[in-house]
């Protein structure tokens, strides 16, 4: 039997997309849909038990890759992983002092925000910072040669803090709406 893609192929290979940070979201969506059209268990409902098992494995794998590629943070972390610099590695946890100071400042602002307008303003500020960090990631990964993957991993870890904080901000906004 001939060779081809396997379940172990990288997310990028599976979707036939270039291995980089910048992503054509439309192409990703289109490919996800055509891959699922081939693999989804519903498309194999009339087939043998073996074929249905394989369909399930592929559909799961495709959804996993899609979710990871679609989310910029997960995508950057995955690129780090592919290049042997895992974001979660334990020798990698120290964050720069300036970054930690800013986090503390944001947390205080959230705790002290008197009303919805203040929380909204904070959300805007943090979102702007997030966009800036995504720009940094794009430069570090797509425009640097050779790529310093340890530096990329550090940026990704910073972004994780920011995303977690944004989730807290969202929860606060919801609470204020109720």
């Amino acid at each position: 039997m001939d060779e081809g893609l396997t379940l172990a192929a990288s997310d990028f290979a599976l979707f036939g997309l270039p291995e980089r940070f910048a992503l054509d979201v439309d192409a990703l969506d289109t490919k996800w849909k055509s891959l699922q059209a081939a693999a989804h268990p519903d498309r194999h409902a009339t087939e043998t038990a073996a074929a249905q098992r394989v369909a399930m494995q592929w559909a799961v794998r495709i959804n996993e890759a899609y979710r990871r590629l679609k989310n910029p943070l997960a995508r950057a972390a995955y690129l780090c992983h592919l290049h042997g610099s895992d974001v979660g590695a334990e020798d990698n946890t120290a964050m720069p002092a300036a970054f930690l100071m800013q986090q503390m400042h944001w947390r205080e602002s959230l705790a002290e925000a008197p009303d919805l307008a203040a929380v909204d303003a904070l959300a805007d500020e943090v979102s702007a910072s997030r966009r800036e960090t995504l720009g940094t990631l794009a430069r570090q990964i797509d425009e640097t040669d050779p790529v310093d993957w340890r530096a990329v991993a550090a940026t990704v870890r910073g972004l994780m803090f920011v995303d977690r904080f944004l989730a807290d901000v969202d929860r606060r906004i919801e609470a204020l709406h109720d």
Binding site: G4, A39, T46, E47
Partner: protein, 622 residues
């Protein structure tokens, strides 16, 4: 896909030309079955021409049952042996049921799920639902005069894992091959062909006899995502009857409903329902109320009815607005509203919806039938009968799935709205030195504390080699299949010790229990049980033979000559066994051998499909 034309000698016409797939709306108050006939979806009637089967089962003693209208007719005289609204109890324990004291049943907890004591012993809601499903299955088989290929069954979008699993168990018990469980609002949207239409937000307003559900769906790139759901499980058309009945009595200067004798009370309610239904077309109707030995005639204008029930309609709108708020969308962003449930025939409901959304709701299809029709369309596609083969429904998990961690906190593994099928693994570690076992507690819900989530299952991973706290690496894998059902496994990575569970949520009917329930028999399954299970094994064998043959026809070139011969030999053996064996087990063994022998062929075929999918797109993009 090209199918090889082969029919079993003596089996009549080519079986795959008539793969009978049905859609079933298993409802709280009534149920329906639909199928594609002559190219269009339609609901199948019983011998009396009735399409709607009331979801009522009466246990009469001696294994006899009344199901549907007959059961409803007997209900007033035999309430405690006549189970209605079993859907409300599916996958639930006694502690989950609020206000069950008002119901005429004697509830008990059996193997983790509520049961109802009847004169024929304790019946679980799964068994009651199976009676209804078996009745509909029989109806479909009579219609086609043939075996069924399989069924799609609808469930409410908010149904959790326990309720979905219970529904699937009921289908199994009723002898149905479940092709897929799909969400009711999604089925309604399919019936209207919205999956073929414009991407965007759609609302499904489902006002049934006793329940009100509102769902907000987003269609994007072929995925129907349930964005938000809401409603009231104790609000429906029956409440409208009740309000109108009260109004009629007051108008005629009669005592209130509660003060009447049971027979008179039922009469007034029935008359109220008739008047309500007439008022959907007529502006004015004369009600005839026979109370206290005298017939009272009361003129009812549509405006009177609407005023008497305005509070109910307003409640549905309030709940609807809450769902929009939850989803953070405005009414103007909704592209269409699908009406489901007989109660949406009321002009006032349609007018209010039109007012809120600034556009008339979709009402072309019969609101009682729309869910079953959508399920039939999906069943037909899954059976491989759809001409285009284009319909692909990608569903999402309605609720987050996670594990209990230290301190009663929930660690979410699979977030809500994850496209299914999905799998995700996460590593955990031990808490104490020398810990050799770990309890895995699987929960479902959005809250942070285990106590606020629904417990789905517990199991233990034992035999972890003793290590210092935090040294073990235990990988817990969650897998959700295309029906939204969960299985969880845990594995210690160093030693390879493994434990897993198919989340048969806390109650869990084992296959043996299902088998023993089957043996106890069904009213509708009068045929000899042994013959039935033999027939089912044969049907399954035919299904697998056909599937393998069509796979060989399509992709046989992937096989080396030796590989092909091996599969042909397995095929021949399955065919002979199915035709000659007298025991279902022998046939099942042959089918399993066939499945095992085609494993790598299946993998190679999928590989080809995946590459074709990618290549096709690449060509289009050039």
């Amino acid at each position: 896909m090209a199918l090889l034309q082969i029919s079993e000698p003596g089996q009549g016409p080519d079986p795959h030309q008539s793969r009978h797939a049905i859609g079933i709306d298993l409802g709280t108050t009534h149920s329906l079955v639909a199928a594609i006939r002559h190219g269009i979806p339609e609901c199948l009637p019983d011998a009396q021409g009735r399409v709607i089967l009331p979801s009522a089962v009466r246990y009469m003693g001696g294994g006899r049952r009344e199901i549907g209208d007959a059961a409803l007719a007997s209900q007033p005289d035999d309430a405690e042996n006549t189970v209605v609204s079993a859907k409300r109890f599916m996958g639930r324990m006694l502690a989950d049921l609020r206000g069950h004291g008002k119901l005429p049943y004697r509830f008990t907890d059996v193997s983790g799920m509520v049961g109802i004591a009847t004169r024929e012993g304790v019946k679980t809601p799964v068994e009651v639902s199976a009676e209804i499903l078996a009745t509909l299955r029989q109806r479909a088989e009579d219609t086609f005069d043939d075996d069924l290929y399989g069924a799609v069954i609808t469930v409410p979008a908010y149904f959790d894992d326990a309720q979905r699993q219970a529904t699937k168990d009921a289908a199994k018990l009723a002898g149905l091959n479940v092709l897929r469980l799909i969400n009711e609002p999604t089925a309604a949207a399919i019936a209207y062909g919205l999956d073929q239409g414009v991407e965007g937000l759609y609302a499904v307003y489902d006002l049934g006899g006793g329940t009100f559900d509102i769902s907000l769906l987003r269609l994007a790139r072929g995925v129907f995502e349930v964005v938000a759901t809401g409603g009231d499980s104790a609000l429906g058309g029956d409440d409208y009857d009740q309000r109108l009945a009260a109004w009629l009595l007051e108008r005629a200067g009669l005592p209130v409903l509660e003060a009447l004798a049971p027979r008179e009370r039922r009469h007034v309610q029935t008359e109220a329902r008739r008047v309500k239904e007439r008022l959907s077309d007529a502006g004015q109707v004369t009600a005839r109320v026979d109370v206290g030995g005298r017939v009272h005639e009361i003129e009812v204008a549509r405006a009177d009815f609407e005023a008497a029930t305005a509070e109910l309609t307003a409640t549905t709108l309030r709940l609807l607005k809450r769902v929009l708020r939850d989803a953070k969308v405005g009414a103007d962003e909704v592209q269409g509203v699908v009406m489901v449930g007989g109660s949406t025939r009321m002009p006032v409901v349609r007018a209010e919806i039109a007012g809120l959304f600034g556009r008339p709701p979709l009402t072309d299809l019969n609101p009682d039938e729309v869910v079953a029709l959508g399920a039939a369309i999906q069943a037909n596609a899954l059976a491989g009968n759809a001409a285009s083969g284009e319909l692909l429904l990608l569903d999402v998990t309605p609720l987050s799935l996670g594990l209990e961690t230290m301190g009663g906190l929930v660690e979410r593994i699979i977030e809500r709205n994850t496209t299914i099928p999905a799998a995700k693994a996460q590593d955990f570690t031990t808490f104490k030195d020398g810990q050799t076992a770990m309890a895995v507690h699987v929960v479902q819900g959005e809250r942070e504390l285990v106590a606020d989530c629904r417990s789905l299952a517990r199991f233990e991973l034992r035999g972890i080699p003793p290590m210092v706290a935090g040294a073990a690496r235990i990988r817990v894998t969650f897998q959700v299949d295309a029906d939204g059902l969960l299985s969880v496994s845990a594995r210690e990575l160093g030693s390879g010790v493994e434990a897993s569970i198919v989340v048969k949520p806390s109650y869990g009917l084992s296959d043996e229990q299902v088998a023993s329930m089957l043996k106890e028999g069904f009213a509708t399954a009068e045929e000899d049980m042994a013959r039935r299970s033999l027939r089912e094994a044969q049907v399954e064998a035919e299904r697998m033979i056909l599937a393998t043959e069509s796979a060989l026809a399509a992709d046989g070139d992937l096989l080396e000559p030796g590989e092909r011969e091996a599969i042909e030999a397995l095929l021949a053996r399955t065919r002979t066994t199915a035709a000659e064996a007298g025991a279902p087990r022998t046939i099942e063994d042959a089918v399993e051998a066939l499945a095992a022998g085609t494993e790598s062929f299946a993998a190679a075929r999928m590989n080809r499909g995946i590459r074709a999918a990618l290549a096709g797109r690449n060509v289009n993009e050039l």
